[in-house]
């Protein structure tokens, strides 16, 4: 197993928060889980994200999501696909409580998002890493400070941050860009910073909204590999993308949306493939893109 697949944070336990939804308890030593060669029966894993008939209307006539029902289990990697306006981003924004559903219930780790009061939202968000298409980096901070900010908001001390960050920087390949500002980085590097920030506090759930939307194929593969690696280390990952080809090549569960409705939900089992490690995935993706 490649060393890079192991995401070990000595301070992981430290950030176990009481505010975390009950089911999203930190997976101590997730890296030590036995590597599975075949996807286990999905029912064995607990449900992390559940949508029950969720609708979101934007004003009269504007449908963001229509009676969507879906469940994502722990350690799954799920792709949401569909054209612009199909509801992918709506799902993401609902999941980080940036939006409230018009109808239906959303449960994350068994906890109804509606029950989280406004003041508690920040604590909830610390358990959900988010990668945005436009990166949303803080322009006035260096790479290091951007990533550190995600830890600072949780109340981590400088010492704890210094202990945690090198691992994440190594994982994302940013070790040499520490002191650069976002505008001094390429798009791919900026997105790596965004992923690093989203993953800095080792959230059990990672959302990526069009993480490769602005990137060239080569760079996209790198980002996908990164997300894949994070997923294999135990984090549930949900990726929204309109790049159908890339999604197909990832051979993971795909949920397709059209005008706010779920029109396809293909489990990863359909691909029936052996679990690849990150390097194998990267090699294959590069081959197929060529």
């Amino acid at each position: 197993m490649p060393a890079t697949d192991t995401i070990v944070s000595p301070s992981r336990e430290r950030r176990t928060r009481e505010d975390a939804p009950p089911g999203i308890e930190r997976r101590r030593g997730a890296h030590a889980l036995p590597r599975r060669s075949v996807a286990p029966a999905r029912d064995e894993r607990e449900i992390v994200v559940e949508f029950r008939g969720v609708s979101k209307l934007y004003g009269p006539g504007g449908v963001g999501l229509e009676r969507a029902t879906l469940a994502v289990r722990r350690q799954e990697m799920v792709f949401l696909v569909g054209p612009t306006g199909s509801g992918k981003s709506t799902i993401m924004r609902l999941l980080i409580k940036e939006l409230e559903p018009t109808d239906g219930r959303i449960l994350v780790a068994g906890r109804d998002l509606e029950e989280i009061e406004r003041k508690k939202v920040p604590y909830y968000r610390r358990n959900v890493g988010v990668v945005f298409q436009d990166f949303k980096l803080l322009p006035t901070r260096t790479v290091y400070d951007n990533i550190a900010y995600a830890l600072q908001v949780t109340g981590a001390s400088r010492k704890q941050i210094r202990a945690t960050l090198p691992d994440i920087l190594r994982l994302t390949g940013l070790s040499t860009k520490l002191h650069n500002y976002p505008h001094q980085l390429s798009g791919g590097e900026q997105q790596r910073v965004a992923v690093a920030r989203a993953f800095a506090s080792h959230p059990p759930l990672l959302l990526a909204d069009e993480p490769t939307g602005n990137l060239d194929p080569e760079t996209s593969i790198g980002i996908m590999q990164l997300l894949y690696r994070i997923n294999r280390a135990g984090t549930t990952v949900i990726v929204a993308s309109h790049d159908n080809e890339m999604v197909d090549r990832m051979r993971r569960r795909v949920i397709e949306l059209k005008r706010g409705r779920i029109v396809r939900d293909e489990a990863s089992g359909l691909y029936g493939a052996r679990e690849e490690n990150t390097d194998e995935l990267g090699e294959r993706l590069k081959r197929e893109v060529r």
Binding site: I96, P122, F132, V153
Partner: protein, 297 residues
């Protein structure tokens, strides 16, 4: 709460957003400066108006043949009368000398002292001068007379003049109060608007912070501290300029220009304290409050 971290964040954002920070500082400086000049001006004007109003007097003329006993009796009556703040006796002789000084030729022509003994009354408030006159004057057509004495020949308060003084000074006072209120409102608006603009340019930053899981106060503290510093800095600079102006311009003039040397004018240390407090409070509160709408993510 980690003051060290928030302090560092505040300084970082001031350094990184030098231009908006400078704009905020400048607006605090200018408004504090204007207020610092205006407050004493209002005070001086009000002082001058009060000074004029203080000259509203009621003269009680005694008959030409009033005896010492009558003078003493009338003094007692006047001291007990309502609305009287101060009673001053001006005897025939001292009145004559006073007037002769002012107008020696006229009195030389007359050749004798035509003036009666006078009680010069200061009413408790300038506005009660008319009421006081009505109470004392036997021939007054107004109301009941509480004090009347056969020894009193006439009661004068130069009614027309008094009324003019009262209405003119009242207009001045109201105008000044209005101007002061407007200036304070304008200052607050100017500062909060500058802060709002500088925050608006950083709303994306705030949004990102919220999405990463920062609590409202985690984001707000650095902004409040920043406002506090900029307010203190702007206020201090303005006060420095005011002190300079006071030492170089106002103090040398104070001996010659009466308006500036009002005895009841605000003390400079108090003025400084008020201005400094206002500058800091408005900037810090402005930063914290203006941020509210950007925190709704």
């Amino acid at each position: 709460m980690r003051p060290g971290f928030f302090l560092k964040e505040a300084f970082r954002s001031m350094r990184r957003n030098a231009v908006p920070s400078f704009a905020a500082l400048a607006s605090v400086l200018v408004t504090t400066l204007v207020l610092g000049v205006f407050i004493p001006v209002v005070e001086a004007t009000n002082g001058a108006a009060n000074d004029v109003r203080g000259r509203v007097l009621v003269d009680v003329d005694l008959g030409p043949s009033a005896t010492n006993a009558e003078v003493a009796r009338v003094r007692g009556e006047l001291q007990r009368a309502p609305h009287v703040k101060h009673v001053q006796f001006v005897s025939k002789q001292s009145g004559y000398e006073e007037e002769k000084k002012l107008n020696p030729q006229a009195f030389a022509l007359i050749g004798y002292n035509p003036l009666p003994d006078i009680f010069r009354l200061t009413p408790d408030r300038p506005e009660s001068s008319n009421a006081l006159r009505a109470e004392l004057d036997q021939s007054s057509p107004l109301g009941t007379r509480l004090v009347s004495d056969p020894a009193i020949a006439a009661v004068q308060n130069r009614q027309a003049q008094t009324n003019k003084i009262l209405s003119a000074t009242r207009v001045i006072k109201i105008t000044m109060a209005l101007l002061a209120a407007l200036l304070v409102i304008a200052s607050i608006l100017l500062i909060s608007n500058t802060i709002r603009l500088s925050l608006f340019s950083r709303r994306r930053e705030v949004e990102v912070m919220k999405l990463v899981g920062a609590t409202d106060w985690f984001i707000r503290w650095p902004f409040v501290l920043e406002g506090l510093f900029l307010g203190a800095l702007g206020g201090a600079a303005a006060i420095g300029l005011l002190a300079l102006a006071k030492v170089t311009l106002v103090d040398p003039l104070a001996n010659t220009v009466k308006l500036i040397s009002q005895p009841d004018m605000i003390a400079f240390p108090l003025l400084i304290a008020i201005l400094m407090g206002a500058a800091i409070a408005v900037s810090a509160a402005g930063s914290g409050l203006s941020l509210r709408r950007f925190l709704k993510v």
